[in-house]
Symmetry: C2
Subunit: 211 residues, 2 copies
Amino acid sequence: MPEGDTVPGTSGTRRTPRGLETRSRIVDSAAKLFYVKGVNATTLDDVRLASSTSKSQLYNHFEGKPALIHAVIDVQSKFVLAREEQRLRGVKTLTGLRRWRDALVQANSLQDGSYGCALGAMSIELSDNDEQSRQALNASFDAWRWMLVETLTRLRVLGVLAEDADPQRLGTGLLAALQGGYVLAQNARSSEPMAVALDMALDHIASFARS
Amino acid sequence: MPEGDTVPGTSGTRRTPRGLETRSRIVDSAAKLFYVKGVNATTLDDVRLASSTSKSQLYNHFEGKPALIHAVIDVQSKFVLAREEQRLRGVKTLTGLRRWRDALVQANSLQDGSYGCALGAMSIELSDNDEQSRQALNASFDAWRWMLVETLTRLRVLGVLAEDADPQRLGTGLLAALQGGYVLAQNARSSEPMAVALDMALDHIASFARS
DNA sequence: CTAGTATTGGACTAAATCGTCCACTTACGT
DNA sequence: ACGTAAGTGGACGATTTAGTCCAATACTAG
């Protein structure tokens, strides 16, 4: 994991446990604020307050706001990808895929759809102005897509899906349905659009089920 | 068209043609900037510069930045909905629906997917912080969804789709696929994910075609 | 034409916000 | 234990940005 963004020149600055703890407190607070308020609407003072730190700590651990943003993207990506990896790993049937859907819809409904997808939101907000963020987020989306493609490939190998099912396209479509579901759900303050969108994608996938 | 947001107390201020022309120049410039830079990243000075106006003109025609944002949401919504209405009105076959898809994908590919959907982007950026914007955008999404539902209903009535096709759910799914396609396309700087997402939705709809 | 109203230009204020600096404290290696 | 480097607190400066104000100009109605 590239640490080379948190420190001015060299990445070889010595860090004590206390420093690392402070750093992660800052990143965690920033991640939460970015998620609920948006990146641009969150000021460094907000982060400072939420993390109970001081200005010098922010600038000791990060070059500036852009570096903090990149660190947050990093931690959010890891979080989402780890969660998805864990949920998709054992999926071997269409029912398992439905369970994956249920988990997403349930989590979304707990907050009435608000806040959407952490990665999707940052993507839309940042990709126009910050190329580095865009690339990082794009890599995460690609990894996410890959997990779906691998899951679908597994289903095909296991004989759950027919040979003419195209995991690449189906995986992309599934991720798009999820992201679109997030957008509509966030705006409607209801997880229902997301449920419908995912159901549509899953029904389509199910149409490739081996008879 | 509610004009009641542009002027402090009363909405009955007299306006001359010149004033109205200035006002629309401001809104148009702001709409463009919001689209390519994002709402929060656009300052009033940006708008002032792009529209060749002065501070007093901005505040003569709008109460402040929020009012300007609402005006932009209004004009963008009208634009998108008018475009969609025009494209969907005559759709009477699945081929017609494919043409609708082609138009969206083509427009998206012209800018390599950048910038995404004007409504979706503002929705994600604003819905957490501005309830009024959220509701306005939600109404637009709902109108958009309705157009798709009506189109699918028409196809069912015409016998193109079978009775068991559910236009409500299919319309929601179609809009979600489109929005998700926008998100992925914007991040990947390629319209391909959007094409795949829409194709999936259309294939699913086609599976309800009357045999 | 004239009075009143809309419109405009731009200087100005107040507040927010990013970023710097330095004295001070804590921890690590030897 | 002692010197050096990491870490901390918070004041401070510089810049950006939203918003105000007023004098000057264009327009409209009568």
